[in-house]
């Protein structure tokens, strides 16, 4: 015996397809009422009509509309009105689902991270142009040590001569025209603002990552944690990845070149950013990367299942392992 149900009606059917009882609601539903019922069914619950029947026929097996287990029988059809209301409700439900998708921290983190990547690239290009531009007029100036301050310094002065005086170098032999200086000044202003914007973006990424990935952030820092999460297409996927994949995440080019043409496999991807690896001697980086990747996998799983986050002591233990590896292999391997 089956208890068939749709969003506004239900019926009890025996194995031969005979309808034993039926609850058909031919009411004119409001769009919101229909939406609530569609949502109810989507979440695996029964509409009130089916609940009534299940009390009358406790043995009937509740089965949602359309299942191929059901025997063939004359389905009670919804009225045209009801179909139209259900369609409007479905549209409402879809809109709600789309709106709610903004709650997904993975998506938000991805925008933040990609935005900061794009801005950083732009910033470096524009900063390089600014320094070349100013250097054209002031050939005796040297910017090697304070590249990042040039933008704000230019922004704060009113003329190139003033800037030359600030740097204590010879004034320009050839002066830019007034509009040319304005353009250069605007450029410097933009570069200097980008620096601030980048700080703001990174601050947002840090907060978001510490919230979303507390353990991974504790272990390798929020920025790297965020990068790994985005690169893995989300926290739950990062948790499912084998740690060998985490180790080379971000080194896809080298990895697939290795698979295709047998070049040396990459030892590390994004995790190279971490000083435990980038500040270690070349010959232990692979070993540390492998160990660290496995710890990141554990941390990511703690995050994904919202367990007790790693503490400073846990991280200290990992650091001790890093030190141990560095010590054990303090000499480069012989040839």
């Amino acid at each position: 015996m089956w208890l068939w149900y749709s969003w506004q009606s239900a019926a009890v059917v025996n194995d031969d397809g005979d309808v034993l009882d039926i609850e058909f609601n031919n009411a004119r539903f409001s769009v919101h009422a229909a939406k609530d019922r569609l949502q109810l069914v989507a979440n695996g619950h029964m509409p009130p009509e089916a609940v009534v029947l299940s009390e009358r026929f406790p043995d009937a097996k509740p089965t949602a509309h359309g299942s191929d287990e059901l025997p063939d029988f004359d389905l009670p059809q919804p009225t045209d009105d009801q179909i139209e209301i259900a369609d409007q409700a479905a549209l409402l439900l879809a809109k709600e689902g789309v709106a709610v998708s903004a709650a997904d921290p993975n998506r938000r983190l991805e925008h933040l991270l990609r935005a900061s990547e794009e801005l950083r690239t732009l910033h470096l290009t524009m900063e390089a142009r600014l320094i070349e531009w100013v250097g054209l007029f002031l050939p005796s100036a040297r910017f090697d040590s304070n590249r990042s301050q040039v933008a704000s310094q230019v922004q704060d002065v009113d003329s190139l001569s003033e800037f030359a005086a600030l740097l204590d170098v010879e004034d320009a032999y050839e002066q830019p025209s007034e509009p040319e200086w304005k353009a250069l000044h605007d450029w410097a202003e933009m570069v200097s603002n980008q620096g601030r914007q980048l700080d703001r973006l990174e601050h947002a990424i840090r907060l978001s990552a510490q919230n979303h990935l507390p353990s991974t952030s504790m272990l390798v820092g929020p920025l790297l944690a965020a990068r790994l999460c985005v690169e893995a297409h989300g926290r739950s996927r990062l948790a499912r990845l084998p740690s060998g994949t985490v180790q080379v995440l971000g080194a896809e080019k080298a990895f697939f070149s290795h698979l295709r043409s047998g070049t040396a496999p990459p030892k590390h991807g994004h995790i190279f950013m971490h000083p435990w690896i980038s500040r270690s001697p070349r010959w232990v980086r692979g070993k540390i990367a492998r160990m660290l990747a496995s710890k990141i996998s554990i941390a990511a799983r703690i995050d994904a299942f919202e367990g007790t986050p790693l503490t400073k002591e846990d991280v200290d233990q990992v650091e001790a392992r890093v030190e141990a590896i560095r010590k054990e292999f303090s000499k480069p391997p012989g040839r």
Binding site: W7, G44, G66, L93, A94, G97, S101
Partner: protein, 234 residues
């Protein structure tokens, strides 16, 4: 220029003009994805770009009557894996028309909220289009929107096990003698030694076991590594 080309109507709203397919724009003046708009006999048509729509490509490639690939205007159809709605919009032109004058229903399911964002915008101006945010495999979640079996079903989901998903959808939603179209992306299936040809051959075998395979349309050139299978439910 247009006079020299062979004009061939596939339905009230679908027109084949040489190697171009056009549908009567149900939302006049608006191009959904920047496709060209052109008037034929005073009626605005939208070009159905075969490079962006596998159904559009199938219509050009089929060896049978292309209008057999389309559903009956005014019927209820199910579209799994609706994407951003390019194909869906042309299908809507054919199935529903302006203000749904044919009284069709196009239930379009997709999993990605980003796609649904575009589909809900489309549904605002195109009556009869019912976007559903849901997993194409989880029939119980949205199956109640299809009160009786449909005569036409399309599936374009890029995930492993496309044929199984298609067959279970056919079992559950397609009426006897109904037409089902499966757009199969070889790259989404697990790798096989024989490459794409083997994946397609395996799909043909699996489909033929259960349904009548009408045609296997190779989409190479429009959409690489893709094929369109046309079946009829026995």
């Amino acid at each position: 220029m247009a006079k020299n080309r062979r004009m061939r109507p596939l339905s009230d709203s679908v027109l084949m003009e040489g190697r171009n397919v056009w549908t009567v724009n149900a939302n006049p003046g608006v191009a959904v994805r920047g496709e060209s708009l052109r008037k034929f006999r005073g009626v605005e048509h939208r070009r159905w770009d075969p490079n962006r729509s596998k159904l559009g490509a199938g219509i050009l490639r089929t060896r049978n009557n292309p209008s057999d690939l389309l559903p009956r205007p005014g019927s209820t159809v199910l579209y799994l894996g609706a994407g951003h709605g390019t194909t869906v919009s042309h299908l809507h032109d054919h199935l529903c028309g302006t203000s749904n004058r044919h009284r069709g229903r196009l239930v379009a399911v997709d999993l990605a909220p980003r796609c649904l964002r575009d589909l809900t915008h489309l549904a605002e101006t195109r009556k009869g289009l019912v976007p559903v945010l849901g997993d194409a495999r989880k029939f119980d979640a949205w199956g109640v929107l299809i009160p009786s079996r449909v005569d036409w079903l399309f599936q374009d989901v890029a995930q492993a096990g496309q044929v199984e998903i298609f067959l279970s959808a056919v079992r559950r939603f397609l009426s006897k003698d109904g037409i089902g179209l499966l757009s199969l992306k070889a790259a989404s299936e697990r790798h096989q030694d024989g490459g794409d040809a083997d994946i397609f051959a395996a799909a043909i075998e699996q489909l033929s076991d259960e349904v009548e395979l009408i045609e296997h349309i190779n989409l190479t050139g429009f959409e690489d590594q893709h094929a369109l299978f046309v079946i009829r439910r026995r």
